[in-house]
Symmetry: C2
Subunit: 133 residues, 2 copies
DNA sequence: ACCTTTTTATTGCATTTGCAATTATATTAT
DNA sequence: ATAATATAATTGCAAATGCAATAAAAAGGT
């Protein structure tokens, strides 16, 4: 069953190639769009939390967030109770572009799952959730 | 069902972090071990073919193979019938290390799928094969 | 209260990555 | 046969990546 691990990796890389091309014009390629989506959906996560949520290296995450702050998509706020952490919030600009970013996700998902019935889709989701890394 | 796309991406990145750490001592991190596995299992693919098989960018693949040739894991041979292509073959060194590399894949797969019954594993494999990118 | 360990953010630095362009060969169309 | 198109390998270059180290704060143990 080691083919499953190969298949999952291959699918991810293909999706990554596609999303890179798709978001190149907006300069939100290389998973940048993922950060915006997450920040909008769950505002107030601190940096390490966000990095864990998207499962991307902390250094890379840190620099990515920094870049998105510079470009006006995100803001960082110090926490009054914890001097160590900085919480990430979406700006108005992020809110505005969110629908477009999420639409891409939905569209890609639909295409990815097109050959599966609704029942099969639910089964797949359930099985994926039982995987442990 | 867009959560499926997120879940697949997260799993892949977690596996990548693990494999990077695991293969660091052998300097076969960053998917290098994948190339050796493929070259052993299907010798004679040409460069672009191998890149497509592992779903990794051709430039990156090219350089990776070049590096593995320098390090004695792979060899490149010109094709007598097609001057454009170069075919990739494993060396003895690659053959020798293959069992260890494949064992990692198997071990990781077992852990990943540990919570699933044999039937569920088969279902998952079957559903993943029906996904289209 | 104090010491130890852990967690978070941050920076330096070398490596890796991948887009875009180039060259050469092969394939297809006319 | 020739021209146009497509495919493969390759290189330059700038950007992205991630390991290792550092500093500061928090959490846990005694």
């Amino acid at each position: 069953m080691f083919t499953i691990i190969r298949r999952i990796g291959a699918i991810t890389r293909l999706i990554e190639i596609d999303s890179n091309q798709h978001f190149k014009p907006l300069k939100l390629n290389n998973d940048l769009f993922i950060y915006i989506i997450r920040a909008v959906e769950q505002p107030g996560m601190f940096l390490a939390q966000l990095a864990d949520a998207v499962q991307i290296d902390r250094t890379t995450s840190f620099r990515t967030v920094k870049g998105l702050v510079n470009r006006g998509y995100l803001t960082l706020k110090n926490d009054p109770d914890n001097l160590k952490i900085k919480r990430v919030y979406p700006t108005e600009k992020a809110q505005q572009i969110y629908p477009e970013l999420h639409a891409y996700e939905v569209e890609k998902s639909q295409h990815l799952l097109a050959k599966l019935s609704k029942t099969e889709q639910a089964t797949l989701a359930q099985l994926l959730d039982k995987l442990q890394v």
